[in-house]
């Protein structure tokens, strides 16, 4: 059984460097740059920068010079869960945060090469590089949005090109590793003076480098109007292997399969409009294929509790003021992919509304310094989730007793709610060297 713990290590390692939900510089959840976060992620049809390579790699075709950006965010999620009849709420609140670095540049050389841009980005949580919790009980309350997703290192690479004056195209990939981990644990009596020393552990841990591709288009038929189309492949990691534990006359052997979907397959259609010399507006509509999600043991969720696909809407407004100052605001609506939790599972989450505000200063105009600073504040409020269990859909907890024994953690009903608040800062350094 000693092998069992190693699976956890593998699963932990499995997710390192994968990508995820709310797309950031590289893909980690809630780790967007301040410009992107303050526009509620509605940026796929806007000109790109180093912080948007995963949102729409076509934006790399817009680059005029090399830039490097770095920043961070601090987050607090207030979340509670209460089963009917329990005297108090179970507080699941926590704080987290992260930092990121990204670089993007047009290629050097002749004019045709400078129409091509490349970008690389890395998101890194400050507390964990990864935190993954797959409970042994299927009815353990889990928040797919807030539990593990923000606690993950993510990396992405992309290339984009200005195909013609009004059309940009880009493609890239995010890292989605998967793990293979055979384990053999043997008890050899007399090997060492202490019992623990008699255990021989042989485990091969291999985290293979998989990639999840994404592609994007950005068309600008008119000076004031742009459209975008983006597809991102689902980002899924798996941990598989066999474990064999032998001690005296007892043998525990068998395969294991753990599963984590970081992001469903997504299609985004967006538009951006320059309404006046100072005001621009953008709108993104995203379809997300949540119905493909499996449980933590890589089993499809049965019909009644299967997630459904969602359509999210996000929009952002940017007001450009003199001296390189910009004010931004955004709003996003995200329907919950989860059905009412009437069955064995207790997934936490509900329809969510995001409001964001931000500001930025480009010091190139203010002081001829090649630096821009952006700030943002964002709140994501989940609606109240409530679920009433259907006893007929709950498993019998003890088959040795008559009747259907129920020990579900959400029975007979539960309520839950969450609110995320976030503040962040991004610094962009313009290196120069691009096309005029």
């Amino acid at each position: 059984m000693r092998a069992a713990r190693v699976i956890g290590v593998g699963v932990a390692a499995l997710a390192t460097l994968a990508s995820s939900h709310a797309r950031a510089a590289a893909g980690a959840a809630f780790a967007e740059t301040s410009r992107v976060a303050s526009l509620a992620d509605a940026v796929t049809a806007r000109p790109g920068d180093a912080g948007t390579i995963e949102l729409n790699p076509a934006g790399l075709g817009d680059l005029r010079e090399a830039s490097v950006l770095a920043g961070g965010h601090a987050d607090y999620v207030s979340q509670w869960f209460q089963r009917t009849g329990d005297p108090t709420q179970q507080d699941r609140s926590r704080a987290f945060g992260g930092v990121f670095i990204a670089a993007a540049t047009p290629l050097p050389g002749p004019a045709w090469a400078r129409r091509i841009g490349v970008g690389l980005s890395l998101d890194m949580p400050v507390q964990y590089l990864l935190h993954l919790d797959i409970p042994v009980r299927a009815d353990q309350p889990i928040s797919p949005t807030y539990d593990s997703r923000p606690d993950r290192l993510a990396g992405a690479f992309a290339i984009g090109a200005k195909v013609v004056r009004w059309l940009d195209f880009g493609a890239g990939f995010a890292f989605t590793p998967s793990l293979v981990e055979p384990a053999l644990i043997t008890y050899q009596a007399g090997r060492a003076p202490d019992v623990n020393g008699n255990v021989e552990v042989r485990i091969d841990t291999t985290l293979d480098t998989g990639v999840s591709p994404f592609v994007g288009l950005r068309a600008k038929p008119l000076d004031w109007l742009a459209f975008s189309l983006v597809y991102r492949e689902a980002q899924i990691s798996r941990a598989t292997g066999t474990q064999t534990t032998t001690a005296a006359g007892i043998t525990a052997a068998g395969p294991f399969n753990f599963y984590q979907m970081w992001d469903p397959a997504t299609v985004v259609v967006g538009t951006a409009m320059t309404l006046s010399r100072h005001v621009s507006f953008s709108l993104d509509v995203s379809w997300e294929q949540w119905s493909a999600i499996h449980d933590g043991f890589d089993q499809p969720l049965p019909g009644p509790i299967q997630f459904h696909d969602t359509v999210n809407v996000a929009s952002g407004v940017e007001i450009s003021l003199p001296k390189g100052v910009a004010l931004r605001g955004g709003v996003a609506v995200e329907p919950s992919p989860m059905p009412e939790q009437t069955g064995e599972t207790n997934y936490l989450g509900a329809n969510a509304l995001t409001l964001a505000l931000g500001a930025g200063i480009d010091f190139r105009r203010l002081a001829r310094v090649p630096l821009a600073i952006d700030l943002h504040f964002r709140a994501r409020a989940d609606a109240l989730e409530s679920a009433v269990k259907d006893p007929s859909s709950l498993p019998d907890a003890d088959g040795t007793l008559p009747g259907n024994q129920i020990d579900n953690m959400g029975y007979p009903s539960f309520r839950s709610q969450a609110l995320l608040v976030q503040g962040g800062l991004t610094a962009t350094l313009f290196i120069g060297g691009g096309r005029p």
């Binding site: 059984m1 000693r2 069992a4 713990r5 190693v6 699976i7 956890g8 290590v9 699963v11 932990a12 390692a13 390192t16 460097l17 090399a66 670095i101 670089a103 540049t105 290629l107 050097p108 050389g109 002749p110 690389l120 890194m124 964990y128 590089l129 990864l130 935190h131 993954l132 409970p135 042994v136 890292f175 590793p177 055979p182 053999l184 007399g190 060492a192 020393g197 552990v201 042989r202 485990i203 091969d204 985290l207 293979d208 480098t209 066999t242 064999t244 006359g249 007892i250 043998t251 525990a252 052997a253 068998g254 010091f363 310094v369 090649p370 630096l371 350094l429 290196i431 120069g432 060297g433």
Partner: protein
């Protein structure tokens, strides 16, 4: 006379040196330039690779204004190793599956990424630069947990199979002195496993009790930053002196397992602890000198405090198997034309590991490492100097000097453990390895 004294000192360093560094950085080198120069890079600069070799080298003398360099390339290495038993049989690391085939040391393949840019430009601070060097192998990471008495190439097998990240920040205080700090990014893991017995069955044929469990996991990976600090002194334009300190590091891998529902026992569990990728405390003293405008040489001496090292199982069979080492490394570069430079290097790495006839079978050999390389300025080659792109290639050949081990019964707790040891009664081992690195670097 002065030259002769210097040569004698260098030769002395080779003779007394016992060396070994390991991991991707030390087995192959961070980038083809450093590989080609035998890893003698602490007194050189102007490269993303300085983030590892000497962070102060990110801001060398003579650079001014804004800069951006982005590098991408490939790494490949192929080891050919042997462990031969007393009867001539080939010995390998046992598999981690029941009845599985033994395994050898895999090839190393991966992507190398680098970046260096001026961080001080917007702040009007000349010579404040940032550098990043990253090696991403075909596997993000790969490690093998084995008892220390299994055959295992201690400093080769998994150590080049893990992602390697170095970031550095440097400031050129004046034209004589640059200081730099960097970090080597690592991780620690904690894994708590809970399980529930779901099925028990007695097999009357084998007499075994077969157990099935449902497992859950709470796994956490923590970042770990190990510091590197360095200074680059340029007393005269042609001479550079580097001093570097690297803090020791290793991946700490621990956790608990609790299985519930075990008949008659209720719950059973245990605590476990492993170590991976140990890197010792290192101090490097180096110098490089421009002999002519087209020819420069460098020499590095690195002290590695391996005596603090831990094996995969935290030196299960007792301390004393690791010893401190000193690594001498030399490099030379000849600028044949404006577009072409040729490089060569050599270093000697004595093994820090010795099993002394005891139960452990941790394999490692003294290494002679020779290398060659070229650097091509593609823009100058095609007569477009604004196309500032370099191709750099390095080739390295490592000889792992044959070594033998004879088991000593006085070092074993019991006769049974002596005769059942995988290395009983004796064996020899050695081999060689070829490594190749290539990059394209664009500069703005």
């Amino acid at each position: 006379m002065k030259t002769r004294t210097t040569l004698l000192a260098l030769l002395g360093a080779v003779v007394i040196a016992s060396s070994a560094r390991a991991g991707f950085e030390d087995s192959l080198g961070v980038g083809p330039e450093a590989m080609s120069l035998g890893g003698s890079f602490a007194a050189r600069g102007g490269s993303y690779a300085s983030a590892y070799y000497n962070p102060a080298g990110l801001s060398p003398r003579g650079e001014h204004g804004g800069l951006l360099e982005i590098t991408a390339g490939a790494v490949y290495a192929h080891p050919v190793l042997h462990v031969t038993g007393a009867n001539g049989q080939n010995l390998l690391t046992p598999a981690a599956t029941n009845g599985g085939a033994p395994i050898g040391v895999p090839d190393t393949g991966g992507v190398l990424l680098g970046m260096r840019f001026s961080l001080g430009q917007p702040l009007k601070i000349d010579g404040l630069n940032f550098g990043l060097a990253m090696f991403v192998p075909g596997h993000f990471l790969s490690w093998e947990n084995r008892p220390d008495d299994d055959f295992r190439w201690e400093l080769l097998d998994a150590r080049t199979q893990v992602i390697s990240v170095h970031a550095g920040l440097s400031w050129r205080i004046n034209r004589f002195l640059s200081l730099g700090v960097g970090v080597r990014a690592l991780f620690n893991t904690q894994t708590n496993v809970t399980g529930q017995v779901t099925k028990l069955a007695f097999d009357p044929n084998s007499g075994q009790i077969n157990v099935q469990t449902q497992l859950g996991v709470d796994a956490q990976v923590y970042g770990q930053a190990t510091p590197i600090v360095g200074a680059l002194i340029t007393p005269i334009e042609r001479l550079r002196i580097g001093v570097v300190y690297r803090h020791p590091s290793y991946v700490n891998d621990w956790g608990t397992t609790v299985i519930n529902g075990v008949p008659d026992l209720g719950s059973i569990g245990y605590f476990s602890h492993f170590a991976h990728y140990y890197e010792p405390l290192e101090v490097t003293l180096a110098a490089s000198f421009d002999v002519t405008p087209r020819f420069d040489v460098s020499a590095d001496v690195t002290y590695d405090r391996w005596s603090d090292a831990v094996s995969n199982n935290f030196n299960f069979w007792g301390p004393g198997r690791w010893g401190d080492t000193i690594v001498p490394a030399f490099g030379a570069r000849f600028k044949a034309t404006d577009a072409l430079s040729l490089m060569a290097g050599y270093r000697f790495q004595k093994s820090p590991v010795d099993n002394f006839g005891g139960p452990s079978n941790m394999l490692d050999c003294d290494r002679h490492v020779a290398s060659l390389g070229i650097d091509l300025h593609l823009g100058k080659l095609v007569r477009q100097p604004t196309f500032d792109v370099h191709f750099t290639g390095g080739l390295q050949y490592t000889v792992l000097v044959d070594r033998s081990e004879t088991k000593d019964p006085t070092r074993f707790p019991t006769d049974a453990l002596f005769t059942s040891n995988p290395g009983y009664p004796s064996y020899s081992y050695g081999g060689h390895m070829v490594g190749l690195e290539t990059t394209l670097e664009a500069r703005w």
